[in-house]
C-alpha cells in the first residue's frame, strides 16, 4: 500500500511521468541512432583503425562536396522556376482538374526514389518510350536521346520530386493570407503589382525561404536518384559515402564524408526550423479559397493552361510511362533472335514468381516483395509503439521535453546513408551478425520513419481536449478505460496515418537498406536497383513491374490519407 501510493505520487509529477514515457524511446534512439553516430567520430580517432587524418586525400572530400552543393543549388533554382508559378496557379485560380492535380502533388512526397528513377528510365532511358519510339520512327540502331547518366537526368528528377514542396508550402501560405490585407492596400491606392510587391510578397517571403531550404536539403541528401540516374561519374556526398564504404572498403574516408554530410544537414535543418517558426507567426489568419477565381480570357488564360499542362506532364509522364511500360513488350528478350512479339503482356509480372537460372538472387523477385512487407510490418509496430510513448511523453508539461524533442527529431536531418554506415561499423558483429534475419533493417527503417510518426501522433494527441478525459472520468471510467474509450478512438485516424507513413517509408527506403540488406533477404527497392541495370528485356521489365507495384502501394497510401481527410496531410 505504501509502495503503491509512493509510486502513485511519483507518477503524478509530470517530469517523472514524461521520463517514464521517454524511457524506451530514448533507449532505442540512444542505442540504435546515437551510438552509430558517435562511432563515426570514434572511427577517426581510435587507434584500432589506424587512421591518420593527415594522409587523407582531401581532394576526394572536397570534390563530392563541391558537386553536391552545385547540383543542389541548380536543382533548387530550377524547382523554384517551375514551383513558384505553380504556387501562384493554385493560390489564385480555379481550373478544371485542380483537385486531381492537387492529389498528384502529394505523390512525390511518398514515392520511393527507385520508383521515380525507374519512371524516368521508362520514359527517357535507352529502353524507354521516347527512345524506342524515335528508333522505330526513324529506323535507328541506337537510342538517339542520351538521358541516363547525365547531369540533366539528376536535375529533372529533383525538379519532379521537389516542385510540389514549393507549390504546397507557398500556395498554402498564399491562400491563408488574409485577403483583406490586399483589399486594404487596393483601397489605399496600390496597383495590383504594388500590392504584390508591398504586401503579398513580403508576407510570403518566409514561406518561400523555408520551402527553398527544405528543397535544398532534399537535393543535398539525394541518393537513389543520383545513383540510378546520374551514373558513376556523378558523385554526391551520399553516393561517395556509399562507394567508399561498400565498394572501396575505405571506411575512414566514408566516415569523414558522413560527418561532413551530418554537419551540413544539421545547419540546413536548423535554418529551416528557424524559418518555419517565423513563417507561422507572420501568417495572418485568412479564409482559404477566398479570392480564388477563374482565369480571365487572353494572356492570363493562356499562361494558366500552359502551367496546368506542364505540371500534369511533369508529374504524370514518368509515372504513367513506368506503369505502361511494365505491361508492354517492345524489344527482344535476351538470346531471342529474329521476329519480336510486340504487344501487351503480363509476362513481367508472371516472371516475378520464378527464380530463373542465372538470376541475380537466390530467391524469386516476388520474395523481395514479401520481405519488404515483412520489414514494413515490423517497422509499423516499432514506430507506432515508440511513437505513442513519445507523443504521451511530449504531452507532459515539463522542461525535460525541450531537451528530448530535438534529440528525437535529429534522425530526420541525418541521412539514411550515414545511418547505414554507422550501423555496419557498430553492429557488424555478434549478436547482430549472428542472425540470418536482418533485424537491423526494420530498425533502421523505424529510425527514419519515427519522426514522421511522432509528428502525426503528437498533434492528434494534443488536440484531444482535456475536458473529454475529465468528463469520462467523472462518468465513472477508470484510467485504462478512459484510454480505451476516449484516446484510442480519437487517435485512430492519426494511428492509421502514422502506420501508412511507416509502411511507405519502409517499403521505399533505399539508402540505409543498401548497407544492411542480405542476399537472401532482398527488399523491393534493392531488387529494382539490381534488375534495372542488367541487360535483357526481361530483367528490365521485371524491374518496371516491381516499381509499378511499389508505386501503386505508396500512391494508395497517400491517396487514402488525402481522400479521408485524415490528419497529417499537411505534415510537410
Amino acid at each position: 500500500m505504501a509502495l503503491k501510493s509512493q509510486l502513485g505520487s511519483l507518477f503524478k509529477n509530470p517530469t517523472w511521468r514524461a521520463a517514464l514515457f521517454w524511457l524506451l524511446p530514448a533507449a532505442f534512439l540512444g542505442y540504435f541512432f546515437y551510438q552509430p553516430l558517435l562511432a563515426l567520430f570514434e572511427l577517426l580517432i581510435s587507434p584500432e583503425w589506424g587512421f591518420d587524418l593527415s594522409t587523407l586525400n582531401w581532394r576526394r572530400v572536397w570534390s563530392p562536396l563541391e558537386f553536391t552543393i552545385g547540383q543542389a543549388s541548380l536543382s533548387t533554382l530550377l524547382t523554384l522556376i517551375i514551383g513558384l508559378p505553380g504556387a501562384w496557379l493554385f493560390a489564385k485560380f480555379e481550373f478544371p482538374g485542380k483537385q486531381t492535380l492537387k492529389m498528384l502533388t502529394t505523390l512525390p512526397f511518398i514515392l520511393p526514389t527507385v520508383v521515380v528513377a525507374a519512371g524516368f528510365n521508362a520514359l527517357l532511358g535507352p529502353r524507354g518510350w521516347v527512345n524506342l519510339g524515335l528508333m522505330a520512327l526513324f529506323d535507328l540502331n541506337a537510342p538517339p536521346i542520351q538521358f541516363l547518366n547525365t547531369f540533366g537526368a539528376i536535375l529533372v528528377a529533383h525538379v519532379f520530386y521537389n516542385t510540389t514542396i514549393i507549390i504546397r508550402v507557398v500556395s498554402n501560405a498564399w491562400t491563408r493570407q488574409n485577403i483583406r490585407l490586399q483589399h486594404a492596400a487596393a483601397v489605399l491606392g496600390a496597383t495590383p503589382w504594388q500590392t504584390f510587391k508591398e504586401v503579398t510578397f513580403p508576407l510570403l517571403r518566409p514561406s518561400i525561404l523555408a520551402a527553398t531550404l527544405l528543397v535544398f536539403l532534399f537535393n543535398f541528401t539525394s541518393f537513389g536518384v543520383v545513383l540510378m540516374l546520374g551514373g558513376p561519374q556523378f558523385s554526391t556526398l551520399e553516393v561517395e559515402i556509399y562507394i567508399q564504404a561498400l565498394h572501396m572498403l575505405n571506411l575512414p574516408l566514408a566516415a569523414v564524408l558522413s560527418i561532413l554530410q551530418l554537419l551540413c544537414t544539421l545547419v540546413i535543418t536548423i535554418g529551416h526550423n528557424r524559418l518555419s517558426g517565423r513563417r507561422d507567426r507572420t501568417l495572418a489568419p485568412g479564409s482559404p479559397e477566398v479570392g480564388v477565381r477563374i482565369p480571365k480570357r487572353g494572356l492570363e488564360r493562356l499562361v494558366v493552361i500552359l502551367l496546368v499542362v506542364s505540371l500534369f506532364a511533369l508529374l504524370v509522364s514518368p509515372l504513367a510511362a513506368l506503369a505502361a511500360r511494365s505491361f508492354v513488350k517492345l524489344e527482344a528478350d535476351r538470346g531471342e533472335r529474329g521476329e519480336i512479339q510486340r504487344g501487351l503482356t503480363l509476362d513481367y509480372y508472371r516472371e516475378l514468381g520464378f527464380n530463373r537460372r542465372g538470376s541475380l538472387f537466390y530467391v524469386p523477385p516476388i520474395a523481395a516483395a514479401w520481405n519488404s512487407l515483412m520489414f514494413a510490418g515490423i517497422t509499423i509496430l516499432i514506430t507506432l509503439f515508440l511513437g505513442l510513448l513519445v507523443a504521451y511523453g511530449l504531452r507532459q508539461r515539463t522542461a525535460l521535453n525541450a531537451i528530448l524533442d530535438p534529440l528525437l527529431m535529429l534522425p530526420l536531418g541525418a541521412s539514411a546513408i550515414t545511418l547505414g554506415l554507422g550501423f555496419i561499423i557498430v553492429f557488424n558483429r555478434p549478436p547482430f551478425s549472428n542472425f540470418r534475419f536482418p533485424i537491423l533493417l526494420p530498425i533502421a527503417h523505424s529510425l527514419v520513419a519515427l519522426p514522421f510518426v511522432v509528428r502525426t501522433l503528437g498533434p492528434a494527441l494534443q488536440s484531444i481536449p482535456v475536458s473529454l478525459r475529465n468528463a469520462a472520468r467523472v462518468l465513472g471510467a477508470s484510467p485504462g478505460r478512459v484510454w480505451r474509450e476516449i484516446d484510442l478512438p480519437l487517435l485512430a485516424p492519426a494511428i492509421l496515418v502514422g502506420g501508412i507513413f511507416a509502411l511507405t517509408i519502409s517499403l521505399g527506403e533505399f539508402g540505409a537498406t543498401t548497407f544492411l540488406t542480405r542476399p537472401e533477404y532482398p527488399t523491393l527497392p534493392v531488387a529494382i536497383f539490381r534488375y534495372i541495370s542488367q541487360p535483357g528485356a526481361l530483367n528490365y521489365g521485371q524491374a518496371l513491374a516491381m516499381s509499378t507495384i511499389l508505386m501503386t502501394v505508396s500512391a494508395a497510401g497517400i491517396l487514402l490519407i488525402e481522400h479521408l481527410h485524415l490528419p497529417g496531410k499537411d505534415l510537410f
Binding site: A471, V474, L475, L490
Partner: protein
Amino acid sequence: MLTVHNIEKTYEGKPLLRKVSFDVARDETICLLGPSGSGKSTLLRIIAGLENAEAGQILWAGQDLARVPAHERGFGLMFQDYALFPHRTVAENIAFGLRMQNRPKAEIQARVKTALETITMTAFADRKVTELSGGEQQRVALARALAPEPRLLMLDEPLGALDRTLREQLGRELRRILRETRIPAIYVTHDQEEAYAIADRLLLLHHGVILQSGEPHEFYHHPRNAWVARFFGLGNLIEGTVTGKAPLTVDTPLGLIQGCCESQPLSRGQKTTLLFRPAQAVQDTDNSPNRITGKVIDQVFQGEHYRVTLHINEEAMYFHVMLQKPVRIDEAITVGYDPDDVLCLENEEEME
C-alpha cells in the same frame, strides 16, 4: 451530504482558494457565484476529484474522499464546453456513464430513451454531437451528466456559451429538471441573474474566499461589503469618512450624509462606502436630511419610472424618479434619501 472543508489551492505560486468551506444539503441547489478567475471552476474540479487540493478535505456523508479517484466518486459534472465525445452519437454520449457502471444493455437503452425524452431530443438519438447546435449540445451534456444518477450534480457555467434567449429558455428547463430529480447540485456561474433564478443558496467567491453566503434576497438587502454591492450592481456607491455616530453621519463629496449601518459599529474617522439604491430615492425632499442635487445628463423611460442620471461632483449617479413629463437635459433636480435607506458598507479588504 457534501462537506467542503478548508480547501486551499495555489496556481502558479498565487493563492487561488484559501480555506474554502461550505456544505451542500440533501435536495439543495447551491450556486457558486464569482467573477472569472475567482477559482470557481477549480473548486468544482477538486470536488470532482480531477484536481488535488493542497490542503483541506472533501467529505461525502462524513467520509473523506481524498483516496477516492474521480471515476469512483459517483458525482456528475457538466462541463463549461460540454466536453461531448465527438466520436460518439447523442445516445452513445448519454449511455457512456451507464456503460461504465456495467449496467445491463436493456436498462441502458431504456434509461437513454427516458433521458432523451426528458430533454425532448428523442429524434436526435443517432445524430453526431458535432452536428448539434449550442443549445442542443447543452441539453445532451445535461442528460449525459444526469443519466448515471449521480449522488451530486455539478454544473460549470452551463449556460455560459449560449445567447440570451436560449439562456432564459434553457435556464427554465434546467430549474425544472433540478427540481424534479432532487439531486443535490452545485451550480457555478458569474451571472447573478442566473444565480438568483436557480439557487436555494448563494456562495459568493472572491479572491479565493467565500465573501458572503445566504439566500438570494439576503445579498440584495444586506450586502456584506462594498465589493458585494458593486458586484450585484445594487446602486450608487460613494466613499466617505465617518464624522458622527448618533445619528451616523458621513462626510462625502456630496456633503454630510446621514446613514445606517448593519454590521459592526463604525467608529469616527473610519472610511466607509455609502450605497444609494436608485429605487429608494424620494422626490419629496422637504423632510429628508440627505439631499442630492445635480444636472440631468441622461434619462431613460422605463415604464414605472424614469431612470435619470445626474452629474454630481464629477460623478454620475442614477435614480429612479417618477416624472409626469420628461425633464430637460442640463436641468438641475434634487432627490432625497431617508437615513435608513443609505447603507454604510465596509470598504473592500485589501487582498494582496
